[in-house]
């Protein structure tokens, strides 16, 4: 069971801020592929991975990061703080 979080327009497109997902995905990319297959709103949110960033257990990482032992995955657009 992984806690999946969405922020900014990813959250708005998917329509919820977080959800618990039971998955056998080996990597973040695998998880994204499973999410895309769920519903149109997920497919839309994950249409362009180049426009997305991912954090695994609250650390920025890449889409090929492994999910073994991971508790939390977050998807969001490039940050715009400061």
């Amino acid at each position: 069971m992984i806690e999946v979080l969405y922020f900014a327009w990813v959250r708005e497109r998917i329509g919820l801020p977080r959800e618990r997902i039971t998955t056998d995905a080996a990597t973040v990319a695998d998880l994204v592929a499973q999410l895309r297959d769920r519903e149109e709103r997920y497919a839309m949110a994950f249409a362009d991975l180049g426009a997305l960033r991912v954090a695994v257990d609250q650390e920025l990482t890449d889409f090929d990061a492994p999910l073994k032992g991971v508790r939390e995955v977050a998807f969001f657009p490039p940050m715009t703080g400061g």
Binding site: A55, P77, T80, G82
Partner: protein, 152 residues
């Protein structure tokens, strides 16, 4: 080395004075204090509000890691980062970085480094609300490119 992530407005003058006061209490090796303050800009006069979303569990640790990097890289006596989230009005202070060092070069470099990283690596997202609607601010290529100058 303090990091604060908060919704509440804060005052540049009060924070700068408090930062300097902790420095001047007892130590005499500080010659340079730099502050950077970010303010909600409204170039076109159409901005009604800015809203900043963040990633609560990640934000403060991610900023602390940036401060630790800055401390490892430059000779810093102290550093402070305050960043707000939630709704704010044009003209309001969004965030602030302060650095203190023996020499001006270290204080300036560390403050610019922290700003460049906060812009592109801290989990904040800005939304602009105008009469025409709301939209997420896109990341700028220039902000991403600014990180290159800090590569070892």
């Amino acid at each position: 080395m303090a990091v604060r992530v908060q919704a509440e407005p804060f005052d540049l003058g009060a924070e700068a004075a408090a930062f300097a006061a902790t420095l001047s209490a007892g130590r005499r090796d500080i010659g340079a204090v730099v502050t950077f303050t970010g303010v909600v800009r409204d170039d076109t006069g159409t901005l009604q509000a800015m809203e900043i979303e963040h990633y609560p569990g990640m934000t403060a640790p991610a900023i602390q890691a940036m401060v630790d990097q800055a401390t490892a890289r430059w000779s810093l006596a102290d550093a402070l980062v305050i960043h707000r989230y939630g709704p704010m009005q044009p003209g309001e202070v969004i965030m602030m970085v302060a650095t203190a060092a023996g020499h001006r070069g270290d204080a300036f470099a560390a403050a610019e480094f922290l700003m460049d990283y906060l812009k592109s690596r801290a989990p904040f997202w800005k939304k602009e609300i105008t009469e025409g609607g709301a939209h997420w601010v896109a990341a700028k290529d220039a902000d991403e490119a600014a990180l290159d100058r800090w590569k070892p």
